[in-house]
Amino acid sequence: MDRIAFDIAHLLAGGLLLVSFMMIYQDRMFALLHVFAFHAVVLSLSVAWQAYNQGAPHLYVTAAIALVFKGIVIPIALRRIVLRLGIHREVETVVGIGVTMLAGIGLSALSIVLMLRVTGMAEAFTREDLAFSLSVVLLGLLMMVTRRNAVSQVVGFMSLENGLILAAAGARGMPLVVEISVAFSVLIAFIVIGVFLFRIRERFDSVDISALDEFRGDQT
């Protein structure tokens, strides 16, 4: 592909990474949701650009799903949940934001170095794309493990998954991308419904030792 196309794709992928960092940085729930919506939008843009470049029309579907489902539906649903559970206080982090940021930078550095080393023979575009998507995935995971709040962990998972979609879309001519994105949307829908239904479970780590004796008949 020509230079411009490459730069644009590069720009979008990098943008996605940047937005991931913004997400880690957020300490307000609603702000986080907004940033995530933005994350989804950037993703759909870059997927669409891939679709245009690779001339793969089915990728447009993926882009659309990303835009509509993750850019609009999920954020709204999460917003309602947040209001419902009354947890729009700031995000409860395990370690300080700053530390998390540093860790994130380390992770993206790791992934970029790794990818550049590993993908020797693949074409330049794929390498960049993979490097970015891997770091987005890692950042998503990082967010899941450094946030106590269920909603923000869901958000983390979804950003992780955005990274996957990015990688899939970047993989030239990869089939089943649409199916995969659909499958993932189902997964996420489940998660969100779960968060919504099991209000008991306001946070993932409600499993604390004190709560064990009452229902986990497994302590000696």
Binding site: V118, M144, M174, F204, G217, Q219
Partner: protein, 483 residues
């Protein structure tokens, strides 16, 4: 391909999904239970035909070869026996009001959905399709685990769900990487995701990309296999779900995930430049084995106890495949089959016991050989078998693993033996408590059928003494395949 067996493979995949659709709408649990059994039986028969007829050529989506035929037959068989067991089990749940008819309908539908997912995962010739199938199986089992709606059940389901999803995600990334490795060689599109193609061309792939991919795949599917430290979902999911599901989880789902790992291991070893996945698998196997063995000692819930024992045995199997070589691979396959049969048998008996005693607390279960001789000795046979006692099949596989390992890598063999011994001690300690001493708690006879239990025990016993020639030849072929 001709005659009645023209579409046997499609049949194996199709029957469950149709049955699932049908069961979703059928009222009345008796009928649906029977239909469940029937569907499983049909699937089993279809799978058995694979043994007699010559195999269909690999298609774009479905594939039958030496490796997965082992898994598919085992899968459908245990699926069938578990369905029979669940028919005799689930009625009692309805009486005690733990489940409502609606949930039962949902339960049976999900059961077939799960079977569909697993069969598809085993038969798929396309790594993307396999990924989707595994996710499907995971989702359906998640719903089954949470079916009791109790706090614990939801807790377990949720844990399973989250960890599973992350695993799935990692596996997908690995899959994408494999595609990227294949794409320059095989060209874009479908072709670069088809097993048979991948395996043929694996030698020319970018080795380092494959390495990276394997890490993600091992972690992703390894979460499903339940390797420590990715195991966290497994014990609770086993403990809180309905017992037939525990049996299926231990007996089948873990195998399916293992199957995926093995496939990619084959890919790795087909590529000269790639890392040898053996050491990584050996380490994870040993860690899982020893860790699970130690965890056995402090359990208070009988189903969780055997769930940890599943982790332990998955550790042994992964260790064996990591060691490689004809003996160890043979042992790994044998151990996998034996573990599926034995562990599901154990869960069958545990199901009856838990229903009789009305609890899963280990301290509440005493003197079964006195109060329920058949059940008690059945459990004893199962536990002794899983602990590696002859004349049961697990002994043969452990014999082969230990002896073949010690002459190659003594230190590893010592660690292996340490783990096995630890687990043996723990299981035996519990077993002594379960079946001996003065009985406690309710002593009402169990009305459930023991056929599935003793069918499995009988098979394991037979395999421990006599392995039929064809099966051996077939295992050896697979062992060669795995290298």
């Amino acid at each position: 391909m001709s005659g009645p067996f023209a579409y046997q493979v499609e049949f194996i995949v199709g029957v469950p999904i149709l049955a699932a659709a049908l069961l979703a709408v059928l009222p009345g649990y008796l009928l649906s239970a029977r239909l469940n059994i029937l569907a499983s039986l049909l699937t089993l028969l279809a799978a058995l035909t694979l043994l007699v007829t010559d195999r269909p050529p690999p298609g774009a989506y479905l594939l039958v070869d030496e490796l997965n035929i082992v898994f598919i037959v085992l899968n459908t068989f245990v699926g069938f026996t578990a369905a029979t067991f669940s028919a005799s089990y689930i009625g009692h749940e309805l009486e005690t009001g733990r489940l409502t008819p609606t949930y039962l309908r949902f339960y049976h539908a999900m059961y077939q959905m799960m079977m569909f997912g697993m069969n598809l995962a085993l038969l798929s010739n396309n790594i993307g399709l396999m990924w989707v199938a595994v996710e499907l199986a995971t989702l359906s089992t998640v719903l089954m685990v949470g079916i009791y709606r109790t706090h614990e059940a939801l807790e377990a389901a949720w844990k399973y769900f989250i960890l599973g999803s992350v695993g799935i995600a990692l596996a997908l990334f690995g899959t994408i990487l494999v595609y990227l490795a294949a794409q320059p060689v095989l060209g874009e599109g479908q072709v670069a995701m088809i097993w048979t193609e991948l395996l043929g061309a694996a030698a020319r792939f970018d080795a380092s990309l494959l390495n990276l991919a394997f890490i993600f795949l091992l972690l992703g599917y390894g979460t499903k296999v339940g390797l420590a430290p990715l195991h966290a979902w497994l014990p609770d999911a086993h403990a809180e779900g309905p017992t037939p599901i525990s049996a299926v989880l231990s007996g089948l789902l873990l195998n399916v995930a293992l199957y995926a790992v093995l496939r990619f291991k084959m890919l790795m070893s087909a590529n000269p430049g790639a890392l040898d996945p053996g050491p990584l698998m050996i380490v994870m196997g040993l860690v899982s084995l020893i860790f699970a063995a130690l965890m056995l000692y402090r359990r208070r819930d009988i189903k969780r106890l055997f769930a940890y024992s599943s982790i332990e045995h998955m550790g042994i199997i992964v260790f064996a495949f990591g060691m490689g070589g004809p003996l160890a691979n043979f042992a790994g396959l044998l151990h996998m089959v034996m573990h599926s049969l034995t562990k599901s048998a154990i869960f069958f008996s545990v199901g009856h016991i838990a229903q009789i005693k009305g609890t899963q607390a280990i301290t509440e279960i005493r003197g079964l050989t006195k109060s329920h001789p058949v059940l008690g000795w059945g459990l004893a046979a199962g536990v002794l078998a899983i602990a590696g006692m002859p004349p049961f099949g697990v002994f043969m596989s452990e014999f082969l693993v230990v002896t073949s390992t010690f002459s190659r890598a003594p230190a590893l063999a010592l660690l292996l033996v340490l783990g096995l011994l630890l687990a043996f001690g723990a299981l035996l300690l519990r077993l002594t408590g379960f079946i001996f001493g003065e009985p406690t708690g309710p002593l009402k006879p169990s009305q459930a059928s023991f056929v599935p239990l003793f069918a499995h025990i009988g098979l394991v016993l037979l395999a421990g003494i006599y392995l039929p020639g064809p099966m051996v030849a077939w295992f050896q072929a697979v062992a060669q395949l795995l290298g």
